[in-house]
Symmetry: C2
Subunit: 156 residues, 2 copies
């Protein structure tokens, strides 16, 4: 990789989708996209920006997150009423959501297979399939080895 300096990567992403790379957007894009995939809320990103001496207003954080989402650079994942994460991984994948800790964990797309999807209602098109696996605090019992079947069509 010749030019994946953090700064460049963030800037490239912005220009690639036609967003003017302002100081604020660049700062946020760097926090978001440097150093691998992450899940972050608007509040968290705001706090991070302030902590990194890149003051940005909360409103701008929201604006930017939504612009990036609309541009396909982020994906919004709503886990609870009043709590949504922005996911820098926009490839096909799904999530574990740990309700106790609020933690969101990526599951590579190839580790979850959804089949037999019903036909979309007339006049609509499937935009995305979200699979969220909700986890509760303790694992009193053993965890499932490799497959948990939801639905009945596929035998193990």
């Amino acid at each position: 990789m010749t030019s994946d300096r953090p700064f460049k990567r963030a800037l490239d992403r912005l220009t690639a989708v036609g967003l003017r790379p302002t100081r604020q957007r660049l700062a946020l894009a760097r926090l978001l996209f440097d150093g691998g995939d992450r899940h972050i809320t608007a509040e968290q990103l705001h706090a991070e920006a302030l902590g990194a001496h890149m003051p940005v207003s909360l409103a701008t954080v929201y604006n930017t997150l939504h612009q990036l989402t609309a541009s396909g650079l982020l994906r919004e994942v709503v886990v609870e009423p009043g709590k949504s994460y922005f996911d820098t991984n926009v490839s096909e994948h799904h999530h574990f959501y740990h309700e106790a800790t609020g933690e969101l964990i990526d599951i590579p797309g190839n580790q979850v297979v959804v089949t037999d999807l019903p036909v979309a209602p007339p006049g609509t098109r499937i935009a995305r399939v979200d699979v969220t696996i909700r986890l509760t605090g303790q694992s009193e019992t053993a965890m499932r080895p490799t497959g948990c079947y939801v639905g009945s069509a596929a035998a193990d």
Copy 2:
């Protein structure tokens, strides 16, 4: 079925989970459980109660919905930041979510198959698997006949 009068059904459900069947809870339970499965927001239920001459405060609607959810009589489905539905169908199933209209449509559990679920992280247990199929407004192209594959493990 000898006794599935609406009133009885709602009352039974409440007592079955140990919730004192107060006038308000009974009224809300009837609106919720009589007449088949439904998806409803707190605001909608509140409006319905008022319209049905069963005045209940919004706070009580929220309290009751959460109590019913905690008791397993309802399931909460969060579709967007600031918008969640309460689903009277607590059996295994999934949802279409039409982003344009805000409409939520049940998909019977047996119409979606999720396989190859990864193991839950240590110390956790899978509480539920939510599959939400997001629909966008127009269907310019043809809809998928019967299977939309998410992930790569299963061939068609």
